[in-house]
Amino acid sequence: MINPKEHIYSILEKIPDPEIPVLTIIDLGIVRDVIIIDEQTIEIIITPTYSGCPAMDVISFEIKLALLETGYKNIKVTYTLSPAWTTDWMSESGKRKLLEYGIAPPKKNSSRVNKMLFEEETNINCPQCNSSNTNQLSEFGSTACKSLYKCNDCNEVFDYFKCH
């Protein structure tokens, strides 16, 4: 018989992130714990990526929906803030999927995030042509978690999922 916790994780693994649907909420490291209270009652603990992440309510709804569909009756989704989310929790398969999708995945460990003024993360490889001859256009991109880069070889503009 399949372990119930693993079964729940296998359901959660199919839930895409609403903003970057190529990633699942498991890839992103948003799901922090699954607590089985009894056969029908479970608690899912999730953490927001950024404080203002507008996707949290949708994610919580999607989790409830997916678990209801598979027969669980009482589902509680709880938010936790500590420890604070970091890109270090992103799965390797998540990073690969991001790259294939056209978004450069976070390159370094998040402890390297604090930068000097006017310093930018360099050697971010272009997801289109893999050139490292790229530069940052803006530290803030289309969502809180991304910054905007440009490839100087193929001239393509791309999103970089910044280390956080």
Binding site: P48, Y50, S51, G52, C53, P54, L81, S82, P83, A84, W85, V113, N114, K115, L117, F118, L137, S138, E139, F140, G141, S142, A144, L148, H164
Partner: protein, 247 residues
């Protein structure tokens, strides 16, 4: 132990981030260039997120202490001007880009030092919010510092606009360090660190810190400028016209 002190302190943190976010959001679609429009609105989204976490926690504390049914929405949309505890600097008009940037620089630099203290306080939730927010605040400090330098050390026009912005905003920075009974940490002790941070950027930007300026106070106690009433009227109009409305 829940007490009025921690509730007031949490509301002050929530109100300041909400009102500043409300002001900054006026730049949405009006930024000088697209990338910077996106930057200021991204920062604004972080501030709203921080504000929501503080309001949710304040509501939890109030409900437990006073047996009420407050939510983040009732606290932000149904409290009056006199009940808001935000810093005055947050409610001031945006002015030009220089003034908006400078306010963000002053506030984010202060918030960074404050939250570095708050992450170590006993209250677990405030400390968790502080740790989470600091990761975002570091971006805000970097971005606003770079803009202060770019404008201060830019053309004579951009430099003169920064000088004017300093004249307008400096009198509202004293409030950051005005200690009062609800404080969760000794705010007066971070003043010298804040001045050092400001000075380091001002030197690069060819700007000077004003001396012997009268400092405005009152926001934390609910005494506001004439601007807050207009902000709340607009921000709360929907909820007041259609009570209990939900998205």
């Amino acid at each position: 132990m829940i007490n009025q002190k921690i509730i007031n302190a949490t509301l002050h943190l929530a109100d300041t981030t909400l009102i500043l976010a409300q002001k900054n959001s006026e730049w949405c679609a009006h930024g000088p260039i697209l990338e910077q429009d996106i930057a200021i609105t991204n920062i604004t989204l972080d501030l709203i997120g921080q504000s929501r976490m503080f309001y949710q926690y304040a509501a939890e504390l109030i409900n437990e202490l006073e047996n009420k049914t407050e939510t983040e929405d009732t606290l932000s949309y149904l409290r009056s001007e006199r009940e808001f505890k935000n810093f005055l600097i947050a409610e001031l008009p945006n002015g030009d880009w220089a003034q908006t940037i400078l306010r963000q620089f002053f506030f984010s630099s202060f918030q960074q030092l404050l939250f570095e203290k708050l992450q170590h306080i006993e209250d677990k939730q405030i400390s968790a919010i502080a740790v989470k927010s600091l990761k975002e605040i570091n971006y805000h400090v970097k971005w606003s510092s770079e803009w202060v330098i770019r404008l201060g050390d830019g053309t004579s026009e951009s430099h003169s606009r920064m000088v004017k912005a300093i004249e307008i905003l400096w009198p509202y920075t004293g409030e950051f360090f005005n200690a009062e009974e609800n404080d969760l940490t000794e705010v007066e002790k971070i003043k010298s660190n804040w001045i050092q941070k400001i000075e380091a950027v001002f030197i690069e930007a060819n700007l000077l810190i004003p001396q012997n300026i009268f400092m405005q106070l009152g926001g934390k106690q609910g005494f506001h400028t004439e601007h807050l009433g207009y902000i709340l009227t607009e921000m709360q109009s929907l909820q007041r016209a259609y009570p209990w409305l939900e998205w």
